[in-house]
Amino acid sequence: MQWSWLLPGGQGFEMSIFVDETTRVVYQGLTGSQGRYYGLLNRDYGTQVVAGTNPRKAGEDVDGIPIFASVTEAVAETGATASCIFIPAPGVHDAVIEAAEGGVQFIVSVTEGVPAHDEARFYNRLRRDFPDVQLLGPNCPGIISPGKCNIGITAGHIALPGGPVGIVSRSGTLTYQALYELKQKGIGCTTCVGIGGDPVPGTSFIDCLTAFEEDPETRAVMMIGEIGGSAEEEAAAFIRDNMTKPVASYVAGVTAPPGKKMGHAGAIVSGGKGTAAAKMDALRSAGVQVGLNPTEAGELMAGIVAGL
């Protein structure tokens, strides 16, 4: 039922966005070292980790979690509704398609280093053949709805459950930083979505802002951007035209020199475009409160929450 927001005029339920305590997750790559580590950590958090996949280890289990040959089998046997992909970059394209064909509705791809052409291909393939499937990532920390569900690599203890703030971020570690800043101030989070810093993110700022706007539990939104591309400017236009809930923001890379790629494939100032200053201006003119560092953005959010 968490998909109602995708439908035109969909009515909001009492919910977090994208995932909640009813989400049943299959881990593609659960038998690998990272998949096992974070899959079990996610289960410990309370996430319903119902299955893993590995065609060579079907019939085995990882600490009691059954392994199936494919996502299709895992869905048939366990009723999985979401997938989390812990598979090395060369296999991510096929893993995403396998998850969509297998029938899950939400796919989290954590892996870094996926070629941009693969991302462009599976993004457009999902759009066309599986329009109801929401992909998060690749190269993202995942999603946490504190107290309900944690899929990916976020340390659960840094997030305070309960809302009223929704978080969306392009950067993994800044996602944690944002959760942490809010927790220090005793402010809870409805859902925290790390959309990742790759050139073709499956879920955009606007997807998340749309969902937060419709989620009755979320009453304010924290948005963490970074230099490069135009996603923040597009989000600013969306906020100006569509958001009634207050937004606080921070954009990383204020001091980044032009022409130097700052780690993320997307994070580069080129030809005077994609600067933090331009993004902050766009956000400010859309009514967003913009902090100059994560701490200041957290303080601005605390001010917003106090006034709700």
């Binding site: 990272q34 974070y38 812990f86 090395p88 970059a89 060369p90 954590v110 892996t111 870094e112 280093g113 996926v114 070629p115 941009a116 052409h117 462009a120 291909r121 993004y123 457009n124 066309r128 920390p141 690599i153 976020t154 340390a155 840094i158 971020s169 950067s171 993994g172 570690t173 800044l174 996602t175 944690y176 930083q177 942490y180 810093g197 050139p199 073709v200 963490i224 970074e226 230099i227 591309g229 135009s230 996603a231 990383a252 890379g253 204020v254 001091t255 980044a256 020199p257 130097k260 790629k261 700052m262 780690g263 993320h264 494939a265 994070a267 030809g271 100059l292 560092n293 994560p294 701490t295």
Partner: protein, 395 residues
């Protein structure tokens, strides 16, 4: 999950490498040879036959304006031009090699490129009859002169679509078939070669009616090297400063900056933010360094060594928020690095997230004036900037 970080960088090709890349996909390029010395340039021209072009090979635009591209009608001119161009500084890039190429007669110059449109999430092809100048200039002064086509990566670029696009660009009839042929191959090279960008500027029409590739700008996606083993060779020719080369060798994402506070952080966003915060509290970062997700002991120790070897560094700020990176691993890396090398500058650490408590316990016995812990990012930045101003022992 942890990748070899050096694979993530983009890979810029020199013009001649780009032309070899294009030739591999059947596109018409001129015969030429690469030369590292004046004598090699002369020998290449003798083999090719004059006239030739002498072209500086650097990862920078504006070569022509800087005097890096010359026509040589005689062997003496080849010698003169090669002498002038080798060693020339073009936008901070010193020319170390020249491409000696058979000269072409030019009737018209066009522009063609493919890249990813991140907003549309589709591939974008651009074609213009105004070639030979920077496309940014055309986009500003005469945007209608650029014909654009958006290509769904699932469908690819079909010939009828390509013909419509060439027609929309207004190329003369004589150039249409040759251009369509080249664009279809260029798109194949872009996709199969996992390029971030391919650009031909200029694409020329010769007086004899041949369409021909006269320049090549190619950026490959470093994440794709697992399926292009030959790309490893291009890695040797990337332009990096000494610090960047050292960091790259051990697989770190490093960008050299001008300040005195060395930065080590996990995650690109946090590293950028760390550089920002240092600047906001009145200091300046010496570098951007992302140790990536799931960094191990060797990565951490290696990162410290790279920072330590930068004579401009007077304090070091290690900013870690553990997700996939675990606190105790970071702590062990720091301890091991301290055993391996003498660190010249005081270190301030901020550690939160996954297993941060374990990490702090490991570090605690080593705390001193030169190894301090701060509880917040802002506090750590302030301490590091203060130490850089007063306590650092850099050269």
């Amino acid at each position: 999950m942890s990748r070899r970080v050096q694979e993530a960088a983009e890979v810029d090709l020199f013009e001649y490498q780009g032309k070899q890349f294009f030739a591999g996909y059947g596109m018409p390029v001129s015969p030429g040879e690469i030369a590292f010395t004046v004598d090699e340039a002369v020998a290449a021209a003798e083999r090719l036959g004059i006239p030739v072009m002498v072209k500086a090979q650097v990862h920078a635009g504006g070569r022509g304006k800087a005097g890096g591209v010359k026509f040589a009608a005689t062997i003496d001119e080849v010698r003169t031009h090669a002498s002038a161009i080798l060693g020339l500084d073009i936008k901070g890039h010193v020319v170390g090699r020249v491409w000696i190429e058979e000269a072409s007669d030019i009737a018209e110059e066009y522009y063609a490129s493919f890249t990813l449109d991140r907003s549309a999430k589709k591939h974008l092809g651009m074609l213009s009859v105004e070639g030979g100048v920077e496309i940014e200039t055309v986009a500003e002064e005469n945007p209608d002169a650029i014909a654009k086509v958006w290509i769904d990566p699932v469908d690819g670029l079909a010939e009828p679509e390509c013909r419509d696009w060439v027609a929309a660009a207004g190329l003369p009839d004589a150039a249409v078939d040759g251009t369509v042929n080249i664009l279809l191959k260029l798109y194949t090279a872009y996709v199969e070669g996992d390029a971030d960008m391919v650009e031909i500027n200029p694409l020329i029409l010769t007086p004899e009616g041949q369409v021909h590739v006269l320049d090549a700008k190619v950026t490959l996606d470093g994440n794709s090297v697992f399926r292009h083993e030959d790309y490893a060779a291009f890695d040797e020719t990337q332009s990096r400063d000494e610090r960047e080369t050292a960091a790259h060798r051990i697989g770190l994402q490093y960008v050299g900056l001008d300040g005195s506070v060395g930065v080590i952080a996990n995650g690109a966003g946090l590293a950028m933010s760390t550089v920002d915060v240092i600047s906001q509290v009145g200091g300046a970062a010496a570098n951007f360094l992302d140790i990536g997700g799931g960094a191990d002991v060797d990565t951490m120790a290696g990162a410290l060594e790279v920072i330590n070897n930068d004579p401009a560094v007077r304090s070091i700020f290690i900013n870690i928020f553990g997700g996939i990176t675990r606190g105790e691993v970071v702590a062990n890396g720091i301890v091991e690095a301290l055993e391996r090398v003498v660190i010249n500058s005081p270190i301030v650490i901020r550690l939160d997230g996954t297993n941060a408590g374990d990490g702090r316990l490991i570090l605690e016995p080593h705390f001193s004036d030169s190894l301090q812990m701060a509880s917040t990012m802002l506090e750590a930045a302030e301490r590091a900037v203060e130490l850089a101003a007063t306590g650092g022992t850099g050269v």
